[in-house]
């Protein structure tokens, strides 16, 4: 891989192939990026995926509709509720199941709490990537643990809840727990957010590392298929929670967090603001939560009519699409995931060239990968 006198790379005479991952401290799972570097400057980058492939899409075709909910937990394992919700919505739309209002609110509540934990993981990862020794990492973990305690109380599991059902949710949340959540989100959590912001956007060195690094325009990002906070940081206001509301989002008062600059710092700011916004939304949901059933009765041998349905949701990482096709039996004919991170990661070969190795981690952190969903 020797190339002499490469254009556009200052002072470079020879390039070197550097395999980053699949075993590397900052690939967030088992991602493998083949980079061609000239000194410390990246000339080419190519993500190699598939190390975590479990065949979830194929597995789903051999299980009943209800059993597939378990699999969706394991797609994006840091945003489990979003996946479950997208799948359940798709099947409900296909089978014509009406979800009780309380269940919709509860789903929205958990999904927003999940957005907080997911963004906290992003925060923990990106601060590690730019070289802190884990202090912000552990600070993020503290709040995440607290929210995981809520998850455990509601669903019985911290990571893999398997909580949503076709037609509603599995367990109700009692008033005591709701007031606990509310107290935490209203008093303790904003203080934690102040700390997060001070350690990231308030730190001179971090700002110097992130500012102006990886500036992308909306047009570029749309062409590459990038969605979610990474797109909104460039000035787009696309947010399916507001544009195509589902769950209880239509009744909530929230702001779509955007930024104009489109660099890595903007992507960080958008996510940090989304954390606060999600906390506010959770408080609203707890206040507005109606009484009623939490699940519509659906037959155990659910047989949705023939046809297919695609549902779009706003997962913490972008636009998560689920397509399910039925042939009128108890098992799906096809289950397909439009993973936001897969498309975001696919933009890496366009995003990375020309940047330093150290910038790679910052840009890479800006799209917030989770390999479970990419490899499926």
């Amino acid at each position: 891989m020797v190339n002499f006198a490469r254009d556009g790379v200052q002072g470079a005479t020879e390039t070197m192939l550097l395999n980053i991952g699949p075993q590397h401290p900052s690939t967030h799972g088992v991602l493998h990026i083949m980079t061609e570097v000239a000194g410390e400057t990246i000339v080419n980058a190519k993500p190699v995926i598939g190390y975590l492939h479990r065949g979830i899409e194929k597995l789903a075709e051999h299980r009943t509709w209800q059993q597939d909910i378990v699999l969706t937990d394991r797609l994006d394992y840091v945003a489990q509720f979003s996946n479950e919700w997208a799948y359940c919505r798709a099947v409900e739309k296909l089978a014509g199941v009406i979800v009780p209002e309380r269940a919709e609110y509860l789903r929205t509540l958990m999904a927003e709490l999940n957005r907080i934990t997911s963004h906290l993981i992003w925060y923990a990862g990106v601060t590690m990537d730019i070289g802190t020794l884990g202090t912000p990492f552990i600070y993020a973990w503290v709040a995440r643990e607290k929210i995981f305690d809520f998850f455990e109380n509601v669903t019985g599991a911290r990571m893999m809840p398997n909580w949503m059902r076709i037609g509603g949710v599995r367990t109700d949340i009692d008033a005591a727990l709701l007031s606990d959540m509310r107290a935490f989100l209203e008093t303790d959590f904003p203080k934690e957010c102040d700390v997060y912001e001070a350690l990231l956007t308030g730190n001179e060195i971090v700002v110097s590392r992130m500012k102006g690094v990886g500036v992308f325009s909306v047009e570029q990002l749309v062409e590459w298929g990038v969605t979610g906070p990474a797109l909104r940081a460039s000035g787009s206001t696309i947010d399916l929670r507001r544009d195509a509301p589902y769950g209880a989002y239509a009744k909530l008062d929230f702001e779509v967090c955007t930024d104009e600059v489109g660099d890595s710092l903007a992507r960080a700011r958008v996510r940090l603001r989304e954390i606060r916004e999600s906390a506010k939304m959770c408080i609203q949901i707890i206040d507005l939560l109606p009484e009623g059933d939490i699940q519509t009765k659906t037959p155990r041998a659910l047989k949705p009519p023939e046809g297919d349905v695609c549902v779009r949701t706003e997962s913490p990482r972008g636009e998560l699409g689920i397509l399910v096709a039925s042939d009128g039996t108890t098992k799906p004919l096809r289950f397909r995931v439009r993973s936001p991170i897969f498309y975001n990661l696919s933009a890496m070969p366009h995003m990375l060239p020309g940047h330093l190795l150290a910038d790679m981690l910052v840009i890479f952190g800006g799209i917030d990968t989770s390999m479970g969903e990419i490899d499926r």
Partner: protein
């Protein structure tokens, strides 16, 4: 040399070797505890009193680990590299003076001697990085070399201000000159430049680019295992010890403590303070990017250090009694 001198030298060398081991063990323990508490956790806790025996346990583990030589590694340099890193660290430590007359080499050019040997440590890192036949170690080693050259200059220039003011490179003279006012008060700019430069010389955050974990796995030490890794750790903590000694002796008055009198205890306390400061940085700051690291030295620290020297000279001529 007479028989007495030989005995004294050998005793000192054994003492210094013990010191380097103790410094590493206590330094790692203190660092883990200190950063642990910064991070709302308690650090090592289970082995011994508050985890004091954790480090001996780690050392036993390190010694008993398999010594892996990567295929394609340069056999001679790979074996030599960690030793080359430890030797100058020990040599530099031999010039430390802890009390007038209490030190192996209280020589005229103590400061010069230490700088000369401290310089060799990152060179050994570059050798290690080269010899492993791995791209990550190579980049780490080259980063170590680049960082060394860039930060050596501001460090020496900042120290030069003190040398000019004290009129000597002998530590006991420099410290004695600070019995009234420390040089941190007289040369605050020099102190800041020196502290930043010595952080870079010691590979400490925010200048830990040679072993940037998130970028280069573990930089030049990626392929090291067992006691080879242990030697590099020894060298790094010895450098930390020497670096904190330099800060304490050159700018913080060494063993003097104003009206509280002079004692080696003050010196050790100041060294622990400086070490804790570097650990605090390590727990808080992220890493600089390589280009801003270089720019910081060449565009800021060196000019500032030069201006500092000129200012010290001018002040010494203008106010001979005070400066």
């Amino acid at each position: 040399m007479s028989g007495d001198m030989w005995l004294r030298t050998i005793l000192w060398l054994v003492g210094l070797l013990l010191l380097i081991a103790v410094v590493t063990v206590m330094g790692v323990w203190w660092e883990r505890k200190f950063i642990g508490h910064l991070q709302r956790r308690r650090g090592p806790l289970h082995n011994g009193f508050h985890g004091l025996l954790q480090l001996p346990a780690d050392m036993v583990k390190m010694i008993s680990k398999e010594d892996i030589v990567p295929s394609g590694a340069d056999p001679w340099l790979f074996q030599l590299g960690p030793i080359l890193a430890v030797m100058p660290a020990i040599a530099a430590m031999s010039a430390l003076v802890f009390w007038p007359g209490f030190g192996l080499l209280d020589i005229n050019h103590g400061l010069f001697y230490i700088f000369a040997f401290q310089t060799l440590i990152p060179l050994a890192f570059a050798v290690i990085g080269w010899s492993c036949a791995s791209k990550f170690t190579l980049m780490g080693g080259l980063r170590a070399a680049a960082q060394l050259i860039s930060y050596e200059i501001p460090m020496l220039l900042a120290a030069l201000g003190v040398v000019m003011a004290a009129g000597s490179m002998r530590f006991s003279t420099i410290i004695a000159a600070q019995s009234d006012v420390w040089y941190i008060v007289k040369q605050p700019v020099g102190f800041v430049v020196f502290l930043i430069a010595i952080l870079a010389e010691m590979n400490r955050t925010p200048f830990d680019l040679p072993d940037a974990e998130s970028e280069l796995v573990a930089g030049f030490q990626t392929e090291l295992s067992g006691m080879k890794f242990g030697f590099v750790q020894l060298a790094e903590y010895a450098a930390l010890f020497v670096g904190s000694y330099l800060v304490a002796a050159l700018f913080l008055g060494g063993w003097t403590m104003g009206f509280l009198g002079a004692s080696p205890v003050w010196l050790l306390l100041k060294m622990v303070l400086v070490m804790s400061l570097t650990m605090w940085f390590r727990g808080t700051f992220p890493r600089l990017r390589i280009d801003s690291m270089m720019a910081m030295s060449w565009k800021w620290l060196i000019p500032i250090a030069l201006v500092n020297i000129m200012a010290v000279t001018a002040l010494a001529l203008w106010l001979p009694g005070i400066y």
